[in-house]
């Protein structure tokens, strides 16, 4: 498939405005500025683009809600708080193709009649900040940002807002709290950010990759766009593949490609020809799949049928040398660390589960620990403001469902099932 999101990134100058324009950049913005904002929203709706941050919410619908709100100003925020473990798909756009994001944001701002945008960049990407700030400066100098974009009269101002190491700020209401200068703790929904977002105003929060798809939709039109990949959630998708594969990396492939094709045809297969043991298909919050799950198409429709989710499209591959109890414990200590502390079930539950998993892993597991983990999980799901707690609980339930034998082995034999000699 021809690359769009990662087009030209092998070129060492790909981040410069000159180079971006040389390969056709900013043509979509010029085209979009000739269109009525409502026409662009209709196009994005017709294209069927679904949010790439993890939830898969239809982007056109989100924009429609925000544009129907009568309050101004409206804010456009790019969620570049890429913190989901296993996920590094937005990094190449941020570091190597920043003008694609800026062009996508300028088009989106025109569609939403927003004159102020922020890129909420995670604190752990200091280099991306340097690249983005330079690119924004270049775009201002060329008139693609500013009071009068490309001489067409609509204005849009953009700056980078750097986070400071809090996974929870990837959740849109926590992100908004953080932009406003508060602790990043989620708000209750409704009201949704499209009506009451940053500083109480209508706010659209879109993922980097979502915004980077906008210039393509404008360039080729909704019909051609919706023919890419799965018609139910079309478009190109970035998959970040890591752990036990021969060639880990970010791959731009059509939505709906199977997990098997990603792992074996693109990422070089399991390292050293070893046996595949498990795959997490969408970042650490996505429930783990057993090896027979690899025939599943990677999209927002099919993965939920297998009890997992597409999430951020971060494929984590585990071979037979990896202990599932240990992975589950490490994931849980991450959730415990990142729980914002607002909701008791998540704040306390993640810590309890980390403790129990640690003792199972260390050979001190108790007979009813699996049931205890399930009980705690079910006491978190649906009882928190945001999906972090649900994610943590889902991870444990996924591991127990697919690898209960390994958990039981650990508890009964007080040691790991994975031989140290592998």
């Amino acid at each position: 498939m021809e690359k769009f999101l990662l087009k030209n990134i092998e070129n060492p100058d790909s981040a410069s405005l000159e180079e971006y324009q040389r390969v056709g950049g900013y043509k979509s913005l010029n085209k979009a500025l000739q269109l009525e904002p409502s026409d662009i929203i209709a196009q994005v709706k017709a294209a069927g683009l679904r949010g790439r941050g993890g939830a898969g919410f239809p982007t056109g619908m989100k924009w429609d809600f925000a544009s129907r709100d009568v309050k101004f100003p409206k804010y456009l925020i790019c969620n570049a708080d890429e913190g989901e473990p296993g996920t590094f798909k937005d990094r190449p756009i941020l570091e190597k193709n920043p003008h694609l994001l800026i062009e996508g944001m300028a088009i989106s701002a025109h569609a939403l009649k927003s004159d102020r945008g922020y890129i909420y960049l995670r604190g752990e990407y200091p280099y991306a900040r340097v690249v983005l700030e330079k690119a924004i400066e270049e775009a201002y100098a060329k008139g693609y940002l500013g009071d009068n974009i490309a001489g067409k009269g609509s204005g849009f101002h953009l700056s980078v807002h750097q986070g400071a190491g809090a996974y929870i700020c990837g959740e849109e209401t926590a992100l908004i709290e953080s932009i406003e200068g508060w602790r990043g703790q989620p708000r209750i929904k409704p009201p949704f950010p499209v009506n009451v977002g940053a500083w109480g105003m209508p706010t659209v929060v879109n993922n980097v990759e979502t915004l980077a798809n906008i210039p393509l939709i404008v360039a080729i039109g909704a019909e051609k766009y919706s023919a890419i990949g799965n018609p139910e959630c079309p478009g190109p998708k970035l998959f970040s593949v890591s752990c036990c594969v021969e060639t880990p990396g970010v791959y731009e492939l059509p939505m709906g490609i199977t997990l098997k094709e990603i792992i074996y045809d693109h990422a070089g297969g399991v390292r050293g020809g070893r046996k595949l043991k498990a795959v997490i298909p969408g970042g650490i919050s996505a429930p783990v799949l057993p090896p027979d799950g690899v025939d599943c198409p990677m999209d927002f429709v099919n993965l939920p049928k297998r009890g997992s989710m597409l999430g951020s499209g971060a494929v984590m591959v585990f071979d037979d040398t990896v202990c599932m109890v240990k992975v589950c414990w490490r994931a849980m200590s991450f959730f415990e660390h990142e729980s914002c502390g607002k909701c008791t079930p998540c704040r306390e539950g993640t810590g309890w589960m980390r403790n129990i998993l640690k003792r199972i892993e260390g050979g001190f597991g108790r007979d009813n620990d699996i049931e205890l983990l399930q009980d705690i999980s079910l006491s978190i799901i649906g009882k928190t403001f945001c999906p972090l707690g649900d994610g943590a609980a889902g991870v444990v339930l996924g591991f127990i469902k697919n690898f209960s034998d390994e958990f039981r082995y650990h508890i009964t034999n007080k040691k790991c099932m994975v031989s140290k000699d592998l």
Binding site: E84, E124, H161, G165, I179, R330
Partner: protein, 151 residues
């Protein structure tokens, strides 16, 4: 421009000056590598925000530090991908080689070691940040070479 003025200028980017708080805390932390009470007071005065709320925000985010740190800050990722690719043994190795525990500082004050949650470089694991420089594909051999560059 002194820190006070620099922070004042940041607030121009936001409809409400409070929006500049995260950035302001970075500015206040830049020179010393941590946020002393004095640094927090400067932020509080520059943005005209209560000291308690400034501290409340500063203690929420893990990249703000609240006690003196070494001259350099090593943030090593040990999340799942880095763990599988050997980050845990690197932590033990650093402990043995430099006598530094996660969360601690070397005796000579040269660097502090912090464990960070996913650095977003799982394809080049294990990875770390030294100050703002990114380093990946770490091994016991190259991690020493890298660290020796930071005096």
């Amino acid at each position: 421009m002194d820190i006070f003025e620099e922070i004042r200028a940041l607030s121009e980017k936001y409809p409400d000056r409070r929006g500049a708080l995260l950035h302001a805390l970075y500015v206040a932390q830049k020179d010393a590598g941590w946020l002393s009470q004095e640094a927090l007071n400067t932020v509080s005065n520059a943005l005209n925000l209560p000291q308690a709320t400034v501290k409340g925000v500063a203690t929420f985010y893990s990249m703000y530090k609240h006690r003196p740190m070494g001259r350099h800050l090593i943030q090593l990722c040990t999340n799942v991908a880095c763990m599988i690719m050997g980050a845990e043994s690197l932590v033990d190795f650093l402990k043995g080689k430099y006598g530094v525990e996660p969360g601690g500082t070397t005796g000579d004050g040269r660097f502090s070691l912090v464990i960070m949650e996913c650095i977003g470089a799982c394809d080049r694991a294990p990875a770390m940040l030294v100050d703002t420089d990114f380093h990946s594909d770490l091994t016991e051999d190259n991690i020493v070479e890298i660290i020796e560059e930071y005096k």
